[in-house]
């Protein structure tokens, strides 16, 4: 029984710590990425990976009570609505005429390439 408790504790803390690490990683990526279209990817890390792992860790801590049903409701709702909201935002941005900056690093690479070609 003690080993089972220890196992549940270890799994719960591991998933909570990994989830909060993913949330921090996603927010840092959201801050540092250069473009709107690339920031979408970093935001999806927060919505999917971090949220699911933290809710899973809290569910392991709660045990079989009503709390686990509420946590499952929150997780299911966020899983459904997160990609929907992301799709709506991306579609609205595309319709409003926000274009993709193709040459963030590509232009520098092309310049370098043409310079070396000329030389």
């Amino acid at each position: 029984m003690i080993t089972l408790d220890l196992f549940i504790n270890v799994v719960s803390w591991a998933s909570v710590v990994l989830g909060s690490f993913l949330v921090l990683l996603g927010s840092i990526g959201f801050f540092r990425f250069p473009d709107f279209w690339s920031r979408l990817h970093a935001a999806s890390v927060i919505d999917s990976g971090g949220m699911i792992l933290i809710v899973l860790g809290m569910a392991f801590q709660a045990g079989f009570t009503l709390v686990i049903a509420k946590l499952a409701l929150i997780a299911i709702f966020l899983i459904i609505t997160g990609p929907t909201a992301t799709h709506a935002i991306a579609n609205a941005a595309r319709v409003s005429g926000l274009t993709v900056d193709r040459d963030l690093n590509q232009s520098k690479a092309d310049e370098k390439h043409s310079k070396t070609k000329k030389q």
């Binding site: 909060s20 949330v23 927010s27 959201f30 801050f31 709107f36 935001a43 709660a62 409701l73 992301t86």
Partner: protein
């Protein structure tokens, strides 16, 4: 260990708020607000577990519902410049939603 999780979530919220302050376009700010809403749900749940009051999860569920509706309402307002009275026919030249 929930204290570490809470500190990390608050740090992430601060980083996202700075991106909202900087954000070049409207849509950066909208998706950052959406992420802050998701993090608010998680923070309320973690605070409920820290203070041994799991009733906070009801409030977290309410925040999850309001976050989605708020994001869609903001997008619809900036698209059609109104919140009520949806357009009757979809304008295909405008792009379909």
């Amino acid at each position: 260990m929930f204290e570490v999780c809470l500190a990390t979530l608050l740090l992430s919220v601060i980083i996202l708020l700075y991106r909202i302050y900087l954000g070049p376009t409207l849509y950066d700010r909208v998706i950052a607000v959406n992420s802050v809403g998701t993090l608010a749900v998680l923070i309320i749940g973690v605070v409920g577990f820290l203070s041994q009051r799991p009733d906070f999860l009801d409030i977290a569920l309410l925040y999850a519902l309001m976050n989605f509706i708020g994001t869609i309402a903001v997008l619809k307002f900036f698209r059609y410049k109104m919140v009520d009275a949806p357009p009757l026919k979809t304008n295909r030249e405008d792009g379909d939603l």
